[in-house]
Symmetry: C2
Subunit: 388 residues, 2 copies
């Protein structure tokens, strides 16, 4: 007797779309073990809860006996965009890419079963003779690619789109040809690329993969997608106390989504703060180990409950923008109305605390992730909970 639900049913739950219609159901009904692809960009290292949504879905496939294939996009990352036009694609060295890939897979194996996961690097097939590349790009039309929303938009706004950028989705799609994937997973923002992979497989005489898109997890602000660059993320290797505190800072409105996407459950019928504590405990347990959730909660309470910090503290937004770091004097000005020079003086005197601990007087710029969800304190009585 097992407590696991029938996995084929679970697989189609909590997804945004399965395309084309009926294809996935047919594949699952065949009983054949499927090759299930996830492409990974090795320019980022740490996995956050946004990635976990997709990894969790892959884990469900694994438990149902399917073959998960992780594709590390090392080749595309190594090439980067030499035009320097697309700053989102830094060119990395082989060593950096390997290190990032290792970090990513190590962390992914907190969710996936390492032993049964196939990990491939796309340099294995993308470092092809130019003639083969020409054969590949001859199978795709310009119109097909310019249908992609962001391409279309950049063309319409007359912002530069290099021919190389046009090639990336083709290369990514060719990964599906190379590993003969049956299913590919991605965020809803990847729908175009995933379907292009299907088209390319068919152009190469293979059955086309089906495509599963997953909803995008909002970040700690409850609005923007969770991302490292957005500074609104919870990393799976965050310290238990930090993870707990960050999760306690998500707005109540985002809780249902977190429950659904990360725990595949509905929000429990309990006061929001209790439901949030349960969510934070369970996620800390999952990534830091059983019992760590309760320990983190106790630490949280020690600071917040035992009078050191009042229960009810006004919220201060960490401010939007893409910056990964927050300038502490500016934050103090905004939170407590002090002048810049006073803020610096307070910092220098050790009069600024974060979750009850004095902040270092010389760190004027602090990563957003160290602040989100914490309580900032000046002197004995002025507090602000940092959100966003």
């Amino acid at each position: 007797m097992t407590e696991n639900p029938p996995e084929a049913g679970v697989i189609t739950q909590g997804i945004e779309a399965a395309l084309p219609e009926g294809a996935l159901a047919e594949q699952l009904a065949s009983g054949r073990p499927l090759r299930v692809k996830l492409g990974i960009d090795p320019t980022a290292q740490d996995i956050h809860l946004g990635h976990v949504v997709v990894l969790e879905k892959l884990a469900q496939f694994q438990r149902a006996g399917h073959q998960v294939v992780l594709i590390i996009g090392d080749y595309t990352a190594r090439v980067g965009d030499p035009s320097g036009r697309d700053t989102r694609r830094p060119v990395l060295s082989a060593e950096e890419i390997d290190a990032n890939a290792r970090t990513f897979t190590d962390q992914a194996f907190k969710v996936l079963d390492a032993g049964s996961t196939e990990v491939r690097f796309n340099s294995e097939w993308l470092d092809m003779p130019v003639a083969e590349l020409f054969a590949l790009v001859g199978k795709v039309t310009v119109a097909q690619l310019l249908a992609r929303e962001d391409f279309r938009k950049r063309m319409a706004e007359q912002r530069p789109l290099s021919v190389l950028e046009l090639l990336y989705p083709i290369l990514q799609g060719y990964d599906s040809v190379a590993i003969r994937s049956d299913v590919e997973l991605g965020g809803t923002d990847q729908t175009f690329n995933l379907l292009l992979g299907r088209d390319l497989q068919q152009a190469y005489g293979q059955p086309g993969q089906s495509v599963i898109t997953l909803p995008i997890l909002p970040g700690l602000d409850g609005e923007q997608r969770m991302s490292k660059s957005g500074g609104n993320y919870v990393g799976v290797t965050d310290e238990p106390g930090e993870m707990f505190g960050k999760l306690m800072s998500i707005p109540d409105s985002a809780m249902a989504t977190y429950y659904e996407l990360l725990l595949a459950e509905e929000v429990p019928d309990a006061p929001p703060v209790e439901a949030k504590r349960a969510l934070a405990r369970r996620l800390v347990d999952r990534f830091a180990g059983d019992g760590e959730g309760a320990r983190a909660e106790a630490g949280f309470d020690q600071v917040h409950k035992r009078g050191e910090i009042p229960e009810d503290v006004p919220e201060v937004d960490l401010d939007g923008g893409d910056a990964a770091e927050v300038h502490v004097p500016a934050l103090l000005s905004r939170a407590f109305g002090v002048s810049g020079s006073e803020a610096r003086r307070l910092l220098a005197q050790g009069g600024v605390r974060l979750d009850g601990r004095a902040m270092a007087p010389d760190r004027l710029d602090v990563p957003r992730s160290e602040l989100a969800g914490r309580v900032l304190q000046v002197g004995k009585r002025r507090f602000a909970r940092l959100s966003g």
Copy 2:
């Protein structure tokens, strides 16, 4: 004492445009020997008078002490368009390409000085590692390429344009980078590609080439551009008699253009038929050898003047369309109003003549080039001069 005009002056004569404005004049004024590029598509073999316009301009550069570089586009021809969408680009074998290239250069050296011409194959640099190709295509934007008139049109009309086709002009432009050309020549229809070569050179930190476009020579019909596929061409290896006859068939209205583009002269002040004879004689002399023009003219006269064929014969158009062959029975129907079956009977009886010689009874389809400019004859008294 020499009869040659100062070559720098000649170089800027009879051209359609020199771009960007002032660049060529500055290069010529510098007195530095220039590297002057012409790209050649080795999917065609024989050179016709349309090519001669450009080759003649190259010869002027040579005589002024500049270095002419012929680029055989063997690599692009070998890759072709694997999508099969663009039927204008057949994929050729290496042997066919080499044979075509040899034929082309042999014929080009009727105009150019072989000893001082540099001939290069672009496979020498285009068969590059994929990473270098990525660096190359990263320097060009999609919008830049879609500005090309035929691309723009195909996109607008929603006809397929493969990503590979988008790459061709980039590859062709890279030829200029590889050989560090100072000047590139082409037809007016090549303006976009030539200027892209300039842009790429600058993206690679080289001085950008200047670009000379030349007017396009009309074919025997006096209207469509001269081309093999149009069946309205005079090949530089045509038999002297055939070349003479074809040139006598061009409409008077096209004569000024032929004089300007092929002889760099104005039409002489003489009756049109005399001017045409002089043009035909001189071109036959040039391509078949001195004296061949007069010999061809005598042959022409033998047939046309000495009563065998009247001087004044009605013209019949060979009919438009792209077909390289003409169906003789249909032509006879059109020229003389005979029925299809009668036409076949006349042919079978040897009653159909071309320039006075009986046509073979079993050749129902005859290459257009064998007919253009000749006189078709049925029986003793019915004649038609074939044009177009």
